[in-house]
Amino acid sequence: MGTQIKDVVMKADAPSTLLLDKHADYIAAYGSKKDDYEYTLSEYLRMSGIYWGLTVMDLMGQLSRMSKDEIIEFIKSCQHDCGGISASIGHDPHLLYTLSAVQILSLYDSLSVIDTDKVVEYVKSLQQEDGSFAGDKWGEIDTRFSFCAAATLALLGKLDAINIDKAVEFVLSCMNFDGGFGCRPGSESHAGQIYCCTGFLSITNQLHHVNADLLGWWLCERQLPSGGLNGRPEKLPDVCYSWWVLASLKIIKRIHWIDKNKLRSFILACQDEETGGFADRPGDMVDPFHTLFGIAGLSLLGDEHIKPVNPVFCMPEEVLQRMNVHPEILN
């Protein structure tokens, strides 16, 4: 008996050059077919969808092609009395979409169009006794929400509104035997969660708690023979996990532990030559989510045709420089 490594086969005719123009056209067109079934069905995460689209356009230097005024009006209409922001009109506010909205407004340097004091109040109201954060008033606890809370407040320059020591304590209680982090204390490590927790510790200047050599080893073992990275042992590679692993490695200063050329080939192979955009794996359907993480991953790998991306906020470095937000990178 032997474990077969789960992986994908890289085809010889897979795309191997970066098709920037096609990706920009794909994203620009995505929002225009508003009565499409798939598009409508994703309304429950619309705010994040807009963030993915705008960020990838900004990274490609094409932000001006998006309809800024319409988007800003949309965000204003999604802020609720409690201060929180929802994915779409008629939906309930949640930390996930509050962060997305604040990220979008940061790209546009337009934070003042919403009531930011109320956003701060909302984030603050979701911190629990043990330092953790609920995603909304219904009480789901997850380290993803600790990240959302810290990132939102850092972009608003109001990190001190919450109990940071307690928040850090909770995130650290989710650290595991492999150096990684899970959703809650006791949960298994997962690349997405590791990204959230290292990102959170970076924003709060607490990266010294991370066992960087142990975690870095686990993260670089995510790379499979195809060059792609998976999110947990014995799982398939995926462009979005490639980003989460890569960004985490960048934050803990171990990005050189993976084979950059092989990862680049994998990400490029996930492009769709006909429609533009990136899929999770070669040959799958593309979407804006994987398109952002494909482009952002290539940026971290040093692609000169893309603006440098910040590994913690997944936004262009220049935007964070302008805002004077400087998350910690391990030294």
Binding site: Y44, L45, G90, H94, E140, G182, G186, E234, R254, G283
Partner: protein
């Protein structure tokens, strides 16, 4: 968005599909509008459950609809009889089970299930535990289900012992089960707490039994990484206790240096560090060796003039840390230029495993098993790496040659992780060099020609005066190098060094050889301006020597430099 394969379709098929979509879109639109309208009007009835259920069954990530259902339940709780409620809650649970069968990885569905149970008049947590086992049989890696299971275990007060047995059963059917190994890492310390109360570690006897279980897994399927990751944790050591590891005083420099076991920030009130000289507290300003080191394993203070009196037979220096719970003391006798008191790396077995001495026989037998396995599986990188770790736990110096061989195997079998192995090897070589230096009671460290790609443990070399890094593959002299406060001579020729950011404020540094490196700009040398004793600098074979006016700019930057070799 995940795992949807792009299919080629004919025009006819596409048209058919489009029709279906329009139909589905219409249904979605009307049902959602109906839900939102009801909610807006405050109508929280069973029809709302039916409508939202029709959408959630196919689209469980529509979080607002779960919220709507919870509002309905909270409302019905006040209207219905306990029997009616029980029926409603049971119906909800079977609806949720259907949803989970279609989409077992939806955060919203699992969270709602927990909420329903918590609000149910008579929750049956045992049934939930069985549900988890059923779903884990279907997918033993579903972390949503595992997390839900942990909630159920808590509510149902299932003992860690029972859960440990459950993972044992799962591992028995399939060793390749990272989720189960992970769960064991959290349960083992609960069921068999460490006798010395170290958090997150298990009792030695339990560890020994656990080794056997893992060995079984490793021999059954040596390429399964799950068990290897777990094995590495089992072999690991507990965190070192926080302490002050060294106190150093220089008479000539009028300064005092405190070393810690971990990076700390003594400028924070909770980590306040207090100095006593001859029994009296002395107010001093602490600084870290490098402005970028906000937390540092080393803190320095300049002593006020006349603190040290040359005529005095002895001075007693003492620091209190963590409200005096941790102290260290050092005496500077008359006529001595410096003095220190420290725990050495050899005393602390800093680079060894934490198992007690009696158990080295156990480690030895683990090593033997792995060596056996390696004979069967010579190309198995997991085995080679584990052998290295075991050898380091047993006798880092004695096994040095074998370790180097194992690294060759590793790099040959897993070229994708070459950079990781290079950095790991650099770390082990530096550890060995520190051990050799300490056994020799020397303050000179020779790290030349070791293929080093990375420098670490520099805080352990705080007393070193001469360091040779010649002929390695270093790209920078990192900021941690600034912790080597006694350094006088640094040889770093024949590397790939571009950046000297660590050569900052080293008060005794006199000579630096940087021949054949990649220093190209005058600003790269700027850190050296903060090293007051520097008199010799060798920059031969660096691109910078070809920059026009380089020498005059350099003499402006480093006016006290006597010897510049280019």
């Amino acid at each position: 968005m995940h795992g949807r394969i792009k299919l080629k379709t004919t025009e006819e098929q596409a048209e058919q599909k489009q029709k279906e979509r329009l139909k589905k879109l219409h249904f979605y639109d009307t049902t959602r509008s109906a839900c939102f309208a009801k909610r807006k009007a405050g109508i929280l009835d069973e029809e709302g459950l039916i409508l939202s259920g029709q959408l959630l069954a196919a689209n469980p990530d529509f979080a607002t609809l779960w919220n709507f259902r919870r509002e309905i339940f909270l409302h019905l709780k006040e209207e219905k009889t306990p029997e009616e409620l029980q029926t409603l809650f049971e119906k909800e649970l079977s609806f949720l089970e259907t949803c989970l069968r279609v989409n077992p990885k939806s955060y919203g569905t699992w969270h709602h299930r927990g909420w329903v149970l918590d609000h149910s008049p008579s929750p049956d947590w045992k049934v939930e535990l069985e549900l988890c086992s059923k779903f884990l049989q279907f997918d033993e890696r579903n972390f949503h289900c595992w997390d839900y299971r942990r909630l159920v275990v808590q509510r149902a007060e299932v003992s860690p012992q029972e859960e440990l047995e459950f993972t044992h059963k799962l591992i028995g059917t399939n060793f390749s089960n990272y989720s189960s190994w992970h769960y064991r890492s959290t349960l083992l310390p609960l069921v068999y707490p460490d006798t010395e109360c170290r958090v997150g570690r298990a009792d030695e006897e339990a560890l020994l039994t656990e080794y056997e279980l893992v060995q079984n897994a490793l021999f059954t399927d040596p390429n399964d990484q799950s068990a290897w990751f777990y094995y590495r944790w089992l072999l690991g050591r507990a965190d070192r206790e926080e302490t002050v590891s060294c106190l150093y005083i220089s008479r000539e420099g009028q300064r005092l240096i405190v070393s810690f076991s971990h990076p700390v920030n003594v400028l924070l009130p909770k980590d306040e560090l207090i100095l006593f000289v001859d029994g009296l507290p002395l107010r001093v300003t602490w600084k870290s060796p490098h402005p970028q080191l906000k937390r540092s394993a080393i803190w320095i203070c300049e002593l006020p003039p006349n603190t040290i009196n040359a005529a005095c037979s002895e001075h007693n220096f003492k620091v209190h840390w963590q409200d005096g719970r941790i102290q260290r003391e050092c005496i500077l006798y008359k006529g001595r230029s410096e003095s220190w008191c420290r725990d050495s790396a050899t005393d602390q077995q800093l680079f060894r495993c934490d198992l007690s001495v009696e158990k080295t026989t156990v480690l030895q037998s683990e090593l033997n098993s792995c060596t056996q396995l390696q004979e069967l599986e010579p190309d198995n990188k997991w085995c080679a790496l584990t052998i290295i770790l075991l050898m380091r736990a047993l006798d880092p110096l004695g096994y040095e040659k074998e370790m180097l061989q194992c690294f060759q195997t590793l790099k040959a079998t897993d070229p994708m992780r070459t950079a990781y192995f290079d950095d790991l090897l650099s770390k082990f070589i530096i550890e060995n060099s520190i051990l050799k230096m300490e056994y020799a009671e020397s303050r000179v460290v020779d790290l030349s020609k070791k293929n080093l790609t990375n420098l670490c443990h520099l805080d352990q070399m705080q007393l070193v005066t001469h360091m040779n890094l010649t002929s390695n593959r270093l790209k920078s002299l990192p900021i941690h190098l600034s912790m080597m406060q006694c350094l006088e001579v640094l040889e770093a020729s024949d590397n790939e060094i571009e950046c000297l950011e660590g050569l900052v404020q080293l008060p005794r540094l006199q000579e630096i050889s940087l021949q054949n490196n990649r220093i190209s700009k005058i600003c790269d040398l700027r850190p050296l301006a903060s090293c007051p004793s520097l008199i010799l600098l060798n920059l031969k074979g660096n691109p910078i020597t070809e920059v026009p006016d380089f020498q005059s700019e350099l003499s402006e930057l480093l006016p006290s430099l006597k010897d510049l070799i280019v």
